[in-house]
Symmetry: C2
Subunit: 356 residues, 2 copies
């Protein structure tokens, strides 16, 4: 592979001049510029990013450590992160933690060893020493979706409380009184917050959230299945299961189906995080949708701000309820003329109704 020396030799200039041309340095004669360009072309020369990084101490690379690539929510997040990063001239390296703290540490370490310019992370746990050290050492860092309290790192996330309240209002209006939740790991903020928001919203209706109605999941499908089986084994099973993410909703569906039960007739189901398939499931699933793309973009902007020496601030985006048929027939059925997919109903509000 041709190096800068080869280009310099071919163009009859010094490597310094080649470097200047490559980096659009103003003080280069048109003549030199042309000869270098020709040599680059002829040799098919491409600068070695490794060498450049070593010299400049920047890799123009962002690390993204996500909890689970197989979760469509995170896949979409990763995609928007890469898109925005590319627009700003950065590449991104994704590390998949698979909801495992040890794997998460592995990726953080590898990314740090590669001297990425900044780290975007959606922590799987409450913060390993490694992660905390990195934050304290001043590695440019931004938390996205989930975060670690007590660390001075900007957080870009959704606030789902209003949407959870809207969900509970919807469920209550449908006559449901025994509501259960499949929670994420208590070590994660989203694992805790969604339960808290749910409990708070239930409280407003004088409803409680007994321990038996809190299933412990880990944001992956299998845990949703197990938790749902637990609910169904109860002497008094819940009327509604609210899964704290889409994969656990998938597991719940598996469990419900395995017992030959029907949604929403036998048990209602709702999920945090909306995905395209929810429109086509049997029945279409009521979900809380985040602005995932915007979240990813905002996180990248915040991180690049930090990297490039600007102040970065936290961002909180609202989530919204998308009503479908998995919790029971809505009181007022959608008009037959409404378009397919999701559509807002009534005045601007966090509640949307989907024809399904």
């Amino acid at each position: 592979m041709a190096s800068i020396k080869d280009v310099a030799a071919k163009a009859g200039v010094s490597v310094a001049t080649v470097s200047r041309v490559l980096n659009d340095h103003p003080s280069v004669s048109v003549d030199a510029r042309a000869r270098v360009a020709a040599a680059v072309q002829a040799l098919g020369y491409r600068p070695n990013a490794v060498a450049r990084s070593l010299r400049t101490d920047q890799t123009r690379t962002l690390g993204l450590v996500i909890s689970d690539v197989l979760n469509p929510y995170f896949t979409e997040l990763a995609r928007s992160v890469e898109e925005e990063a590319r627009a700003l001239g950065y590449s991104v390296i994704i590390g998949n933690a698979d909801e495992r703290p040890d794997l998460q540490d592995h990726h953080v370490r590898t990314l740090l060893d590669r001297r990425i310019d900044g780290l975007l992370v959606s922590p799987t746990d409450g913060g390993s020493p490694l992660m905390l050290d990195a934050a304290h050492a001043g590695t440019p860092m931004v938390f996205v979706d989930r975060w670690i309290p007590g660390v001075d790192v900007p957080v870009v996330r959704s606030d789902g409380r209003a949407a959870v309240r809207a969900l509970v209002a919807h469920l209550h209006g449908l006559g449901h009184r025994r509501l259960a939740i499949i929670a994420g790991p208590a070590a994660t903020t989203t694992g805790r917050e969604r339960v808290d928001a749910f409990r708070e919203a239930l409280g407003a209706y004088g409803l409680g959230l007994p321990d038996a109605y809190i299933g412990q999941g880990d944001f992956q499908a299998e845990s949703g299945r197990r938790a749902t089986e637990g609910f169904l084994d109860l002497a008094e099973p819940p009327e509604v299961v609210f899964a704290a993410d889409n994969l656990m909703a998938l597991g719940a569906l598996d469990a419900i189906r395995a017992r030959g039960l029907r949604v929403p007739d036998d048990i209602a189901l709702a999920a945090f995080d909306d995905i395209r398939w929810f429109v086509h499931t049997d029945p279409p699933i009521t979900a809380i949708a985040q602005s995932t793309g915007e979240l990813g973009r905002a996180a990248v902007r915040a991180l690049v701000d930090r990297i490039e020496g600007r102040r970065a601030s936290s961002v909180t985006l609202p989530a919204r309820l998308v009503v479908r048929r998995s919790c029971g027939e809505p009181p007022s059925p959608p008009s037959p003329s409404s378009p397919p997919g999701t559509s807002p109903v009534g005045a601007p509000s966090p509640v949307r109704r989907s024809t399904s």
Copy 2:
């Protein structure tokens, strides 16, 4: 950030000795080894992978350029690739081409600039000059899922022909005679092969595949929707739509639903690539499943073989049909005692039946 010099100073040895300790070189005294280890520990030293790569001319990194991260098939592929690579001591950097040749080239270029040790690609098109050059220049490379004919690069992929034959047999047995396909881009091998396999299988039943029954898609949902609308606008619409990937099946479902039609009553639907949600869609969708995880692992092994100077060979894995209810009620309904999810039926055969 501490460098090897700091460690050497702290341990009272030369950087050469530190390097030897770091790389487990045998000829280091126990004493030196201990002092270096202590210094490393005390300083929290981590070797700079960038410098190491420049010096050794290897990055222990694989590039993976996939056609579309949002496609669950590729997400799963990416996950298994990373897993196997990690087991072999490599990292992987994923580039998402989004089915766009220009984006694909962008990622190939960026990956090459970073001097990845090898490239895994599922080409979005017939091969850009850049990709062809890389292959000819001897960059260790392996094609996965899709490939470019006429290039001397190992290919790891599924052969879906038997499964497509099984699908057509299933459809024919259900009484369907007008079968349509939503194809992927003709520039991709999977875009062409699936149509060819379908046409060939139809031929065995004396059925043709008229042009009007070949919808041109690009493996993304929106194209599936458009193609399906085209079918439904026909004077004589097909009785079955076979989508060449899961996202186009999603689009097809959108289109069918928008018209208020029902699957399989009004039109049957089948898809290439199986995903977990297909069990829970309305109705559950008959699909051709690939051994995605095994494909990813085999591709990594082949690539690492090439990188490390061993011979790498192509691998072709069979795909299998998973029958559900989207093409009509199977002639012999599954027994009520069969387990949920997919389950094989009868003797070992490529056809499986799922209770749904």
